[in-house]
Amino acid sequence: MSAPIQLRPDETFLLNVGPQHPATHGVLRVKMQMDGEYIVKAETVLGYVHRMHEKMGENRTYAQYLPNLSRLDYLGALGYTHGHVLAIERAAGIEVPERAEYIRAITVELNRVASHLFWFGAFVMDLGGFSPLMYAIQDREHILDMLEAVTGARLTYCYYRFGGLYNDVDDDFIEAAKRFIPRMRKSLKKYDALVSGNIIFQKRLEGIAPVSAEMCRKYGATGPVARGSGINFDVRKNEPYSVYPEFDFDVPVYHECDSLARYKVRMDEMEQSLRIIEQGLETLPDGPIMAEKKPKNIKLPVGDYYQAVETARGSFGIRIVSDGDKNAYRLKLRSPTYSNMHLFDEACEGMLIMDALAFMGSLDLVIPEIDR
């Protein structure tokens, strides 16, 4: 536990963490005013991978914009494309066949497990333990192989279409997914024994970097960050979309508000995602995978539409302002890590640098998604 010390703002130096730094997992820069190992003040500098996806949304038709969504968060891309197709379907009033929604939910949850697995490895690596990353990547590899067989891509998927899917799943996928679930459960037990129970690991996270529920609200933090602060908020439950109401799953919430709580939330979420996949595979209905009545060129009625989905990192929102044309008049992407990262500046004041970087790891940052 770090002892509270009297900071001396007059005897400080400036430390540039990033844009190239092993802990930032991308090109993120944090200007830190340091007093020895303690952070006096931190200022995050963004924009190193800014690509102006929102302008691209105005220049392209809705269908042409589909691949862009998977370039935001390359670890959990399916959740973001899901949000986009749901927004268009909501605005255009397209009915999606049930089988398609089930397959969407299954693949999104698989992708969520893959994303959390990678986070798990990278987070433990931030704390100095290397081997879990390799184990996690090995498990993630199985998921990527399955998704590749179905979607044709390993990372930047473009699988969902307005009104359905690009491709139906085959028996191989279902078999592989069914085989995967018990294997993953075994792996989760192993991770628990290897990492969660480790005394050094617990000491490094317990009570470190408290983020209160009120702070989450003021910054708009969502996802595992909010759930680690005792907020029972999951868009899948709070504003049910797709076929999630059909599934029986819990939302893990921890009230400790520290880095360990955020860690536990994500570890439990993997188990919950496995439950969803299991139920989805069992009850997968037969039928078409594409809506029958669907306009060839989608034009949305004039208006303002919003769709929120729960991605691996939190609540992703997409706002489409339409003027009736075939491309959006304005398209806003509300990315969850953007708000989650915003906490960092305030929360890390007075923290030791190694605790602050562990805290940064517990936020599960994907920089292209912050910068868009």
């Binding site: 800014h50 609200r217 910054y219 708009g220 933090a221 929120a308 806003k332 910068d371 868009r372």
Partner: protein, 162 residues
């Protein structure tokens, strides 16, 4: 429940004035609170306020326990107006998404900052300033966030030419 109380509280801001009609986006509409169909629009309340009323409206939401989702702008070049859109939502199961919007003239784009109420508005306002050139009066650090630090252009304006 929350929906009605919030609606009433927001409605109180427009004491005397008649609630605006269900107006199509793209055409100017009067200030006032509208309920929207969640199924098609994805949010429940849509309030258009004057820039001067903004802080009062946001305070109502803050006291109501809402969290900030995002802030963004829209360039209505035909009406020579800029619109700033504030998205709010709640953490509990009484889902209520509130959209607050305010229209400002394009040649003098200035609204008060809400970063004094919601600390998280800081980056969203900086981003909106980057993209639209909207000035948030009273913002503590209004420098480019996503664009280069010396950027003097605003790419999401409709008359922006790369």
């Amino acid at each position: 429940m929350i929906l009605e109380t919030t609606q009433q509280a927001l409605q109180a801001l427009f004491a005397g004035s008649v609630p605006a009609d269900e107006a199509e986006a793209g055409t100017p509409r009067g200030n006032g609170v509208l309920t929207r169909d969640y199924k098609t629009h994805g949010y429940h309340l849509d309030a258009q306020v004057d820039a001067a009323q903004l802080l009062a409206a946001v305070t109502i939401l803050d006291e109501g326990g809402f969290f900030i989702e995002s802030i963004t702008g829209v360039d209505w070049i035909k009406e020579n107006q800029l619109e700033v859109i504030y998205d709010f939502s709640r953490y509990d199961f009484d889902a209520c998404r509130v959209v607050i919007r305010t229209r400002i003239p394009r040649d003098k784009p200035e609204v008060p900052t809400i970063s004094t109420i919601y600390a998280g508005a800081n980056w969203h306002e900086r981003e909106t300033h980057d993209f639209f050139g909207i000035k948030f009066a009273g913002h503590p650090h209004l420098v480019p966030l996503l664009l280069p630090e010396d950027a003097d252009f605003h790419p999401l304006l409709k008359d922006f030419k790369a």
